[in-house]
Amino acid sequence: MQASVIVFPGSNCDRDVAVCIEAAMGKAPLMAWHGDSDLPKSDLIVLPGGFSYGDYLRCGSMAANSPIMREVVAQAEKGAAVLGICNGFQVLTECGLLPGVLMQNKGLNFVCRNTRLTVTNNKTAFTAQYEAGEEITVPVAHNEGNYFADDDTLKHLQDKDCIAFTYAEGDNPNGACLDIAGICDPSGRIVGMMPHPERRAEAALGGEDGKRMFSGIVEALP
């Protein structure tokens, strides 16, 4: 299988997620540059966390319009699995692969801490190694993680089982609608989430709850 991590100027979790992919896959992913218009055919594409283009416009909006994203969207439409983490989730909503928007945290401050998540949908390409309803601990680190969508969209997400992760009761760090921490497209192949599974993928870093995201996708792909 071929995995690619997209590197935007200002990405800062690109190495962290590459470490996890390599650990799961036994092979380092391709690090793809934002300015390239070609992306080798990839089974897995990861949009990492960070501050793409400094987040100086709306978070993720400039990255969504970078040359490489045309290729990412094209490959996603042909069936590639895509994971957007934090800033990567913002990019996925900005480029239209996922619905909704990530607004500023309700508390108006950046927040970095562990959160308890409920795996709401364990049938996505990334969550098959979790039990449905399982509670896991994964950290967040963001200033704009407050997921918002109109009522129709939220209902659609619920009806189509497109809510992948929610913050456990009382642990919503940003005011997100329906406690949404991560969503997927109806096929389950495109997942966007604010928490950082790559930061909790080994015991030395406090836990391994995030690791199954990466081993799960590697197992699911050819």
Binding site: C13, C112, L205
Partner: protein
């Protein structure tokens, strides 16, 4: 239009530049003529206290700076130590006090940006940031605004660039009401054979400017940082620089990419005094001359004068000297990252700095006097009088143990800093083994099984009462915090914040603190490898408490052996390592429980005990004996125990008896150790005569002292967590 250099150099112009008449005469002697306006500007920043260390140099020379672990001591952009296997740790701490008071967000942000550039200029990748912050009284009208702005600025910069902020410290004291302290520390990791230095050599080699464009921000920032504040200081906002962490992230990646080649001869960031100090330092260290063509400098504003370009402190800029002919490959890298790249000059054999602008030579100065010619002052210093011993009579009618402990847990010094550190990304880079809230932060050296232990420490109220003991204690506490994780302390950086050195009593504090610091560094084999001095932290004649902040770095060779500072399970045996006589002078108990601000002697520091007890803790960790270890500092034994209970909501029953001094005294060289019952005998055997006594056992969810005092851990936790959010909500 008249040229800026047509300006008459009058006494008033000289005074505006912060030079004394004697200093100006020295400048004229070095020049062999009266300097023009641009040259005067350059001399004034290079000879400012901030850049020249003219009041402090004499005393800094007495600090221990050597050791087998030291690769580069003070004098470069950052210190470098050997951490084995061809790896080096590169680190430094620096102040951004004056700008942070005037404009807290940008002041703090650019402080973080500046210290990271100092580290990655040396070829290191920054892996950890820490911050030592001091604010005024919690209820002072400006405090909340300053805390919010500084914290937001530190997070805004560090989070974006993607370097974890893993620790630090915060104190509140009325002496900082008009002068907050923002000391930023950065630690990076490099290969020992890929360290880059500032020295520029090779006549004719190109001088290259990379990074952001130059604007008018920060002109004379270094001069501002070398003067006292008065009521009009907030009008100095235009001298504060504006940070752009996104550009710094690009600059970091581009520099790392170029550093992987061998194209760079020397590299220096443009920090205080910008293009001036970077070019002067590079050329002077290389023993060459430098010719600059300001027409080539990328500017973001029009009609900038040479004076403005030379003195601008615009951020995110670097100056490099490349091997001749390597410009194209370097330019390709910087262009790919969207950064400016311009050859703005070359090295010469003149020993002079010659600056051309718009077809004229606007400055022509000898480099030696600019770099090293500032006068070294031996300012009069009056030793701080010995403080009296604590007056035990003050304890009459003291509150009971439970109420004293609960009060301290919710006090400004002890309260949890969660409100602050959750605004910092402490986990990015995936190597943070122990982030904020521990004794020392632990950061793995990427791809290895070893970790750096990092801590910042100083207790300003001790330094005020007795500078020598306070200086020792700051070093000793950093040493202890590192030992408590199991790591071996290797070296320190310092950030010396004091008031006006022209006052003999302030200079006496400075001299005293450095004496103590030097003695501790020598005895503990904990040399100083980098540092920074910030003087004139005064407003309307009132100075801050002497605050010589220490940043310590240690090495844990096997990260899986690390221990934390929280109780991990029930039925652990609790030991007190170290002894004392219940020293309450200058303690938090005196300040916050007795509400007494008389000056009493702080706890004396026995450096031999520090070394022995630290070694015991490290050995015990190495042998896998300990479940937890915590250094005893502010608030004494009772607070240390309460903190150990809070983490995992595990209580303790303390079976020994003691008086107020025993519970709250701040005697030094002490730790609380927790050990499982089957290992207790091994720990006792290892102690081999050192003062180690069993004081209790972990159990339940209450902290009990004997049979009379019982406090629920949940209550301690709530009190400890509640203070900071309540402060910030107002």
């Amino acid at each position: 239009m008249s040229h800026i250099n047509d300006t008459q150099i009058t006494d008033a112009v000289v005074a505006e530049h912060g030079l004394t008449p004697d200093e100006f005469q020295m400048v004229c002697d070095h020049m062999g003529r009266t300097p023009n306006y641009t040259e005067l500007g350059v001399f004034s920043v290079m000879w400012s206290e901030h850049c020249s260390y003219k009041s402090s140099r004499k005393w800094l020379k007495k600090l221990p700076v050597d050791g087998p672990q030291v690769i580069q001591g003070p004098g470069e952009n950052a210190g470098v130590i050997d951490i084995g296997d061809g790896d080096a740790a590169v680190f430094k701490m620096e102040s951004h006090n004056h700008p942070s008071f005037i404009e807290p967000y940008q002041g703090a942000a650019t402080g973080v940006g500046g210290i990271m550039r100092d580290v990655f200029t040396m070829g290191a990748r920054p892996v950890a940031n820490l911050n030592a912050l001091r604010f005024g009284q919690p209820d002072h009208p400006k405090t909340r605004h300053l805390v919010a702005g500084v914290v937001s600025g530190i997070g805004g910069y560090g989070n974006c660039i993607g370097v974890p902020t893993v620790g630090g410290e915060i104190n509140f004291d009325k002496s900082y009401n008009g002068n907050i302290l923002v000391n930023a520390m950065c630690v990076g990791v490099a290969r020992t054979d890929k360290i880059f230095y500032a020295a520029a050599t090779g006549i004719g080699a190109p001088v290259v400017y990379v990074g952001s464009k130059t604007g008018r921000d920060g002109i004379h920032g270094a001069t501002m940082a070398s003067a006292e504040f008065d009521d009009a200081s907030e009008e100095k906002r235009p001298t504060v620089q504006v940070g752009d962490p996104f550009t710094e992230k690009l600059l970091l990646e581009a520099c790392q990419e170029l550093m992987a080649s061998d194209a760079i001869i020397g590299i220096q960031d443009m920090g205080a005094a910008g293009l001036t100090s970077s070019s002067v330092e590079m050329a002077d260290k290389g023993g060459v001359g430098i010719l600059l063509d300001l027409d080539k400098v990328p500017c973001r504003e029009t009609h900038m004068t040479g004076y403005e370009m030379l003195l601008s402190e615009s951020q995110e800029r670097m100056l490099m000297v490349l091997k001749p002919g390597r410009e194209p490959e370097a330019e390709a890298i910087f262009t790919r990252w969207g950064l400016d790249f311009a050859v703005i000059g070359k090295l010469t054999d003149t020993g002079r700095m010659v600056v051309a602008h718009e077809g004229q030579t606007v400055a022509d100065m000898p480099l030696g006097p600019l770099a090293d010619g500032a006068p070294e002052y031996d300012r009069p210093h009056q030793p701080t009088p010995k403080a009296a011993e604590f007056d035990a009579g003050l304890l009459d009618g003291a509150p009971d143990m439970a109420s004293a402990l609960t009060t301290l847990m919710a006090s400004s010094e002890i309260a949890s800093r969660r409100w602050v550190y959750e605004q910092y990304d402490s986990m990015v880079m995936g190597d943070t083994l122990a982030g904020p809230g521990g004794d020392a932060a632990l950061v793995r050296v990427h791809g290895t099984q070893k970790a750096l232990a990092i801590s910042t420490d100083v207790t300003p109220r001790y330094c005020f009462a007795d500078p020598v003991e306070g200086g020792k204690q700051a070093v000793a506490e950093a040493y202890r915090n590192i030992c408590a994780t199991g790591a071996t302390p290797l070296a320190i950086t310092n950030c010396l914040n004091f008031g006006n050195p022209e006052r003999p009593e302030i200079m006496g504090q400075f001299v005293g603190c450095l004496e103590g610091m030097g003695e501790a560094g020598r005895t503990l084999d904990f040399p100083v490898v980098s540092g920074n001095v910030s003087l004139y932290n005064e407003t309307n004649g009132t100075g801050i408490l002497p605050t010589p902040a220490i940043g310590g770095v240690g090495l844990l060779k096997q990260l899986d052996k690390a221990v934390g500072n929280r109780f991990t399970e029930n039925d652990l045996q609790i030991y007190l390592l170290g002894d004392g006589n219940g020293h309450l002078g200058a303690s938090l108990y005196q300040r916050d429980i007795l509400a007494n601000d008389d000056v009493f002697a702080p706890p004396p520091v026995n450096l031999e005990s520090e070394a022995k007890h630290g070694a015991l803790v490290r050995q015990a960790v190495d042998k896998g004996l300990l479940s937890a270890a915590h250094d005893i500092s502010d608030g004494g034994l009772a607070v240390a125990l309460a903190e150990m209970c809070i983490g995992h909501n595990i209580g303790a029953h303390i079976s020994v008896e003691g008086d107020i001094g025993f519970w709250f005294g701040e005697d030094q060289a002490r730790y609380v150790l927790a050990v499982s019952a089957d290992k207790a005998a091994d720990l006792e055997a290892l102690a081999d005569g050192l003062p180690l006594s069993k004081i209790g056992v972990t159990t339940g969810t209450e902290l009990k002292f004997g049979d009379t005092v019982t406090i629920s851990v949940a209550q301690l936790h709530e009190l400890n967590e509640g203070w900071f959010p309540a402060l910030m909500q107002g």
